[in-house]
């Protein structure tokens, strides 16, 4: 009697009609946003779980398209479950019948693939490599920073009008060694400040070329001219003209009759700065466009995307409503066993949604937190052993019956019932039933220590789909306001991130791969690292001289003891040369040639004739003249004859 007497009063205190209108206005505003596509797109692909809401959204002015979306093809989920999943339209045109069997959300987790992680010595080696790498990196950065301060640490340049060749060479070396564009520009400014405009122009020039080279727009090389670089940019209409103009001015400053002065430097510097700022974004833009084109879905979805957080199953709309109503509402990403000092004041309300879970240790920590004054809502989440409730699923239940607020709590909430799909109820001995379906409890309340726990059979009240339905949003706000003003939603993604990169590697079981990669890098460094590490000219392609080929072939003959073959080849060469030189005598045959050669070399006719006949015989037989000794004697005799005829004095003849 007392309760029924005070109920209207409590109702008025909990939320006035004006505030209820305010909630309704916020809900309409949130759902009117285009990202909540299920309220605007009549072809929005709903999942099978979301279709359960269809009987509750007939002729709903807050979400007009959802009714039509119920008749559209169903969605297929792609990717990991929850927030990162992506929905695509089912290939079938008509809505499909839901497959028989257990609720899909409750299906077992996918099987994990266990990859063994390293331990013991390997882990020690891993950490050693990581520490060594970090130290090397720090050392390199420190060395570069020291180099960057180089120009400031050269006071001897002050007032040095006539620079020596060594100074010029040192400046050129600095330009060649320094590859950081910003540092080169800073060096240019420093030089200009000291009045060394020639050096300033050179550094500006280097900065421009380095920027273009880094962006892959030109190929920087010490033998390439400014004209070559301009040619490289012919296909780049945006940069071609400004770079060409800047390089023309640099040419004038570097090779012109007048040494560069401040106005000339400032003109060049301004042009280069503009190009340097432009070239980076152009390259980045090209890269991004390329990556986007690669990332495009080949199947195509007509440009539509359906992000999970703003789908009917997401929670962004609910969080937005709570924030609009003065709550500090957010998705929890931190660990479940560390709620911090805020719990001492009972201000934090943790809502664990259906796909969330906790380990035994975490449940223990949560229990301690609740007993210390924490407020916990378990909305379809796994129920810990210290609560005497279980969830029972009933897929055959009537899905349009209201879930009413029990008499015990009727005065605490401004609405008498909520409308959610009836797929689950609770089985509990607790008398503090907050919401009930017929005689089955849907939500119960526990007082545990100084804290409170509210258990719901599912998380339907906390997802976006609940917002347009009946007065669910008003009840939701009242429920949470009763518990606290700071709300954190916990789903499967809470506490999933690693605390540090090493933890991340360990969790992904990539330790072995990373160690192997580092070992490979070390091996590469030891093998080619020094050459990679120091700027130097590319090794020119080597080409063997013809004489080297001839010598190599001679060695081959020598190793094979092919004296006959060598003698035949050499004799053939000698006869050819003699016939070329004395063509008239050669026309008379070997005899005429021998007479002519004898006259030229002051040798006896007979001796020369014998030599030429032996040479001819060796050529004809292709196997030399006899024994190896005789073959070598023939080669020596022919060589002496050629020297006497001055063949050896010709260029290349000795070879």
């Amino acid at each position: 009697v007392i309760a029924s007497f005070f109920a209207p009063l409590l109702l008025a205190i909990s939320m006035s009609p004006r505030e209820q209108d305010e909630v309704d206005r916020h809900v309409r505003r949130i759902l009117a946003d285009a990202p909540y596509g299920f309220c605007h797109d009549e072809a929005y692909p709903l999942t099978w779980d979301e279709v359960e809401w269809c009987p509750l959204v007939q002729d709903n002015p807050r979400c007009p398209a959802l009714e039509h979306a119920c008749k559209a093809p169903r969605a297929e989920l792609v990717g990991p479950p929850g927030r990162l999943s992506r929905r695509t339209v089912s290939k079938d045109d008509a809505p499909q019948q839901r497959a028989e069997g257990p609720d899909r959300r409750r299906e077992p987790e996918p099987t994990e693939v266990e990859i063994p992680a390293l331990g013991g010595f390997a882990e020690l080696l891993f950490w050693f490599i990581v520490v060594a790498g970090v130290l090397a990196l720090v050392l390199a950065i420190a060395r570069n920073l020291a180099k960057g301060k180089g120009p400031e640490a050269t006071p001897e340049r002050e007032g040095d009008a006539a620079k020596t060749a060594a100074d010029v060479a040192a400046a050129a070396a600095r330009r060649a060694m320094e590859t950081d564009v910003d540092r080169l520009l800073a060096m240019a400014s420093d030089c200009a400040a000291r009045g060394e405009f020639a050096d300033a122009v050179d550094f500006s020039h280097a900065a421009l070329l380095r920027r273009l080279d880094h962006d892959g727009l030109i190929r920087l090389h010490r033998a390439r001219t400014n004209g070559d670089y301009v040619q490289d940019l012919r296909s780049n209409a945006d940069l071609y003209t400004p770079v060409r103009d800047a390089l023309r001015r640099i040419d004038r400053a570097q090779f012109g009759t007048e040494p560069p002065q401040r106005p000339m430097f400032e003109d060049i510097f301004a042009r280069i700065t503009a190009i340097v700022k432009r070239a980076g974004p152009v390259a980045v833009l090209a890269l991004v466009v390329g990556m986007l084109s690669l990332a495009c879905d080949p199947e195509g979805e007509g440009g539509k995307s359906y992000p999970w957080p703003r789908s009917p199953s997401g929670t962004d709309g609910v969080l937005e409503l709570l924030r609009a109503r003065g709550f500090e509402a957010e998705q929890r990403v931190g660990a479940l066993d560390a709620f911090g000092d805020d719990t001492q004041h009972g201000a934090l309300v943790v809502v664990m949604l259906g796909d969330s879970g906790a380990t035994e240790a975490e449940w223990k920590a949560i229990d301690e937190w609740v007993q210390g004054g924490g407020r916990l809502v378990l909305a379809g989440a796994h129920i810990p052993p210290w609560l005497d409730a279980t969830i029972q699923y009933d897929s055959a239940a009537d899905t349009i019956a209201p879930t009413r607020v029990t008499d015990e709590f009727a005065g605490s909430y401004p609405v008498p019932y909520v409308m959610v799909p009836e797929t689950a109820v609770l089985s509990t001995a607790n008398d503090h039933v907050l919401l009930a379906r017929d005689d089955d409890p849907y939500a119960v309340r526990y007082d545990r220590g100084a804290g409170t726990v509210v258990v719901l059979a599912d998380d339907n009240l906390f997802i976006n789909a609940t917002l347009p339905v009946a007065d669910n949003a008003i009840f939701l706000e009242s429920l949470l306001r009763d518990l606290g003003r700071r709300v954190e939603f916990v789903d499967a993604w809470a506490d999933i991130g690693a605390d540090d990169p090493f933890e991340s590697i360990r969790r992904t079981h990539l330790t072995a791969a990373v160690v192997q990669l580092l070992l490979l890098i070390i091996a590469l460094y030891l093998w080619r690292g020094i050459r990679f590490g120091r700027p130097r000219d590319p090794i020119p392609p080597s080409r063997r001289a013809f004489v080297q080929h001839a010598v190599a072939m001679g060695h081959q003959y020598g190793r094979a003891r092919a004296t006959g073959h060598a003698a035949a080849a050499y004799a053939g060469w000698v006869l050819d040369r003699l016939r070329d030189r004395y063509p008239i005598a050669a026309a008379a045959g070997l005899h005429g040639l021998a007479q002519h050669v004898a006259a030229r070399s002051s040798r006896d006719d007979t001796e020369v004739m014998r030599l030429l006949v032996e040479a001819h015989g060796a050529v004809e037989s292709r196997t030399g003249v006899g024994s190896p000794g005789e073959d070598l004697a023939l080669v020596r005799d022919l060589g002496r004859l050629m020297r006497e005829l001055s063949f050896g004095n010709e260029k290349g003849g000795r070879r």
């Binding site: 380095r210 010490r222 390439r224 004209g227 070559d228 040419d251 090779f255 009759t257 290349g652």
Partner: protein
Amino acid sequence: MTPAEFGDNCQRIRAQVGRVLLGQEEVVEHALVAILARGHVLIEGVPGLGKTLLVRVLSRVLGCTQKRIQFTPDLMPSDVTGGNVFNQRLDQFEFVQGPVFTQLLLADEINRAPAKTQSSLLEAMQEASVSADGLTRPLPRPFFVMATQNPIESQGTYPLPEAQLDRFLLKIGVEHPSRDTEKQIVRHHLAGFNPSAIEEAGLEQVVDAGTIVEMQNALQSINVSEDMLEYITDIVARTRAHRSVLLGASPRGSIALATAARAKAGLDGRDFVIPDDVKALAPAVLRHRLILQPDAEFEGLSADLCIGQILSEAQVPKTAA
């Protein structure tokens, strides 16, 4: 003459020549470089590529006289330079000028004449004067020789010795035009262009001989910086050290490269030489000054390839790399 005026004159000359001579921009540019640098050009190419037309067009646009000598094995030196002929009416010898007394001379197929005849022309090219019977007669200014030789035929020819080749500032290889350019040429002829009557082509005379000489003199004011001198001498020195080159370019090659680079700078309206000028002209200046190793020739290497290697290795002054 200011650099801008210099460049403007050259631009107008190129535009006028380009109206008639299609697809030969590089040859025209090299010819202008040689004229401005007081040098001469040796063109190697098959007949029918417009060499005679180039000389005639240039003479028209530059306002200079032009003559052509067809070199043959029986051509005598006096056929080139002229000689003393007895005048019976005056009862005395008088000098009759040969075709070399002109401003633009096309020496067609120079390698068909014997060495003695070639030498008579080469002396005129070097000294810009002709000596006969103890008297030296200066040639008109400007004096520019464009000699040609056919790279294909070798029978009955007298190749120019290296020492004489060295006297040409540039050696240009003329290739057949591209298919599109050739179509343009044919279209041009079908439209009524007659190469033997270029007076009807409507070409304008851009400058006169005096202006050309003035431009030649103006080259002296074009700056060749110390860095550029270093670059030029480095390139030439590398021709001597190249493993495939038996005999590299002489100091005359360095001078020729610097002079030609100056002319190129003037052509582009600049009063200073930049590395691009040197790099663009190095092949034309150096290719006929190199003698390759016999084994390099066996392997198919050419002077152009060697120069290309050298240019790809020689450090450009003021580079950032």
